[in-house]
């Protein structure tokens, strides 16, 4: 089975689903790819690995670390071995994400209007009102086409039973899509012909689909609507993504100081005077968007933007206030929402989640903390998180104390053992844990998910944290056609 040296050295881990190797050897979706690379000499693989790094650097696909006071350009680590998903599995994922998004979108409309879900007692009102991302300012605001979740980057993981679980919905400002696009463009340069031979479905349509959806939100009867991408600026770690997306869609990349609100309309300051803005794809968080409505010390937003939005004079993508559906405590109610709003059974599984506000569950979690992941309900990026199996007694005590002080802000989940996939590291294939973030676009004409996504890799041996801010890398993600 593993005749050649590259594959022979690969050690699978017990109790972990490996994406490439099953009990009977190489999984069918990987056979073509493995056939193509198994006879390559190690030196050639290393050359490919180096070429990939060189391409990332020379194309400036970097993020900047400002910790030392001066910018240092770093590349987001990329592993050359693709992660491959078979067609049938993708259809399942696609249907599952669409279903979730539809339910979550209705939930947001409901929670900011009539609140049937609270009145019917499905979701405790206290959970919603205690969520810091629940924006009272959004009550009874009608958003264009009733769409809140225009862009979602749903995080999926695969447990050792081979099933996909939804970990987070990321309905605010999910990032990483530029890496999905760039990873693909690097792959076809280092593995010529492999993409067509494997019938890999293209991801290149993402910017066009997004732009089409953004244009459709412009309310004006105007063939020449202005769509802008609002970025916090060059010091933001995702600035590369902002400028890439703006360039691919051919829209202006603006910062808060480029915009001005006059008489409840939004304008951008150009050398030719003020120009009206119709749609803002913002990559700035809710609380920084408008210093008059939210954080008064924000310099990233635009004064008066909230009222312009409320009056329907500008469309904002994603809608404000989505964080309430992203809250990790609300997350556990999504299957219920799907049944309640859609009258369907959830297609994708969710991870069992224990609310720390419940004293019984809290006791249960405290008694087996080494088998739990404890997360803050409103944080992301791998911050504010404790993985019980890897934590010291001291860290656990700190979390216990923090949970008792503010139980609403924590949830616990049993540790899911993320699936592993081979990575080409230091000249050998080594198993590393991965997740999958497909990007879903919800527009007036429906939900589109480009077949692919960002596969994030925990590059530390044995680590379960894939976030790029915590030393994660990424892989190209191939979704095979029929």
């Amino acid at each position: 089975m593993k005749e050649d040296s590259l594959l022979k050295a690969y050690q699978e881990q017990p109790q972990v689903w490996d994406e490439m190797f099953g009990a009977d050897g190489i999984r069918p979706e990987y056979t073509h790819f493995v056939t193509a690379i198994e006879n390559l000499p190690a030196s050639e693989m290393t050359r490919k690995d180096e070429l990939a790094k060189k391409l990332f650097m020379s194309q400036g696909i970097t993020f900047t670390v400002y910790s030392s006071g001066e910018g240092i350009e770093k590349i987001f680590p990329f592993d050359i071995i693709p992660r491959i998903i078979q067609h049938r599995e993708w259809l399942h994922i696609e249907a599952g994400i669409k279903q979730r998004l539809r339910a979550l979108n209705i939930f947001l409309k409901d929670i900011y209007h009539q609140q049937f879900i609270l009145k019917d007692g499905l979701l405790p009102a206290s959970l919603v009102y205690s969520c810091p991302q629940f924006l009272r300012e959004m009550m009874h605001v009608d958003v264009p086409h009733d769409i809140y979740t225009h862009i979602a980057g749903v995080d999926l993981i695969r447990d050792n039973d081979g099933q996909f679980y939804v970990l987070e919905d990321n309905l605010r400002t999910p990032s990483g899509v530029s890496y999905m696009l760039e990873n693909r463009s690097i792959t076809y340069r280092i593995f010529p012909d492999l993409l067509p031979k494997n019938n890999v479905q293209p991801v290149k349509d993402y910017p066009d689909l997004l732009y089409r959806n953004l244009l459709a939100l412009a309310g004006r009867q105007d063939s020449d609507a202005t769509v802008v991408l609002l970025s916090p600026g060059i010091y933001n770690s995702a600035y590369f993504e902002h400028s890439t997306l703006a360039r691919l869609m051919g829209i202006r990349l603006v910062e808060g100081r480029d915009l001005i609100v006059h008489n409840h309309f939004v304008y951008m300051k150009t050398t030719k005077g003020l120009q009206r803005v119709d749609v803002i794809y913002r990559r700035v968080d809710d609380e920084f968007l408008d210093p008059l409505a939210f954080r008064p010390d924000s310099a990233l937003g635009v004064s008066g933007l909230y009222w312009a939005y409320r009056k329907g004079n500008v469309a904002i993508v994603n809608a404000m206030g989505n964080g309430v559906a992203d809250d990790k405590a609300v997350y556990s109610y999504v299957p219920e929402m799907i049944r309640y709003y859609l009258n369907e059974e959830p297609i994708l599984k969710t991870v069992p989640t224990y609310q720390m506000a419940d004293p019984d569950l809290r006791q249960l979690v405290f008694s087996q903390m080494d088998r739990m992941v404890i997360k803050r309900t409103n944080e992301s990026g791998g911050y504010g998180m404790l993985i019980g199996s890897a934590a010291t007694q001291e860290q656990m005590d700190d979390f216990r104390k923090a949970i008792l002080e503010d139980p609403r802000s924590f949830i616990a989940q049993p540790i899911i053992s993320l699936s592993s996939t081979p990575c080409y590291l230091n000249g050998v294939l080594q198993p590393r844990r991965v997740d999958l973030r497909p990007f879903a676009l919800y527009g007036p004409s429906g939900i589109d998910i480009v077949p692919g996504g960002l596969t994030r890799v925990a590059l530390q041996e044995g680590s379960l944290v894939v976030n790029s801010s915590q030393g994660g890398g990424s892989k190209d993600t191939w979704v095979l056609g029929e």
Binding site: I234, V254, E255, D258, M268, T270, T271, K272, G273
Partner: protein
Amino acid sequence: MLSRVADTIYWLARYMERTQSMLQVIRTNYIASQNEIYDFNWRPFLQLYGDLTPDELAQLDGHSTPILTHLVLDRNNGASAYRNILQGRENARAVQDHITKEVWQSLNDFYHVIRDPEVGQQITHEDPISGLDALLRQALLYAGTVQHTMPRDEGYAYLGIGKCLERAIQTTDILRVRWATVKEHAVHPLDAPALRYLLYSLVGYEQYIKTYKGTFNTENVLQFIVYNTQFPHALLYSLDQLAYYFGRLQPESLPESHAHVAFLIGKVRTAVRYSRLSAQEPEQLTSFLLQTRQQLLDVASALNTSYFGYN
């Protein structure tokens, strides 16, 4: 074009022109300080390109290494060449989609050269001329890359405006500061060294001796630096170019904004063209240069309000 983007591009050009100009001045000064032909003083330039207190200035007198370090490499001196290059590169990063990849890469390279310990070592401990030459070469590379790769669009016009405005200000400053040393010797008609260093600072020495067949006198040098429209660092040439680049912006401007700034550019250009300066009247020259400088700053602030959205 977004006001912020235009502003960023314009300042990118100003930072780079300023860097080129100050490196040339520092190189010339260093050579002058070594030749010791006349009583040489770094102070006017330390004041121009730094923020030292009089006490600190006094400590530096006669010590080339700390002076060069302060002017070229000091990361804490907001006016050092290092900081100018850093700023220029940051600006380029922020408007990467409006400049060519080649321009971005030339600035990125420039930044890496000034951070190169080898170049730092040359400037501080070995042969400062070699170190400064390595930096000047990068400045020329940037200028050539802009000329060769940039599309002739609005962004290019802002690069041109920034460059010419900064060059006009630099020429005014260098002439004024250097003339102070010339002035003392004005009674000697052939006080060549000071005039020679003035021309070197403006990269005009070779052109001057070709134009005037090797005759040095204060009157000719002054005419050359202020009025010669074939000398690329001459004040009038820079202003003509400024007017040209600004004229290109007309279709992209609000009519009233364009008229306002064009008026101010025309005013300073006309004032220079129809002036009658004489080397024999140094005080009149100084006040004329200060007045011109002020008018150039007025153009800059009119651009700020009419084009770059400063209110």
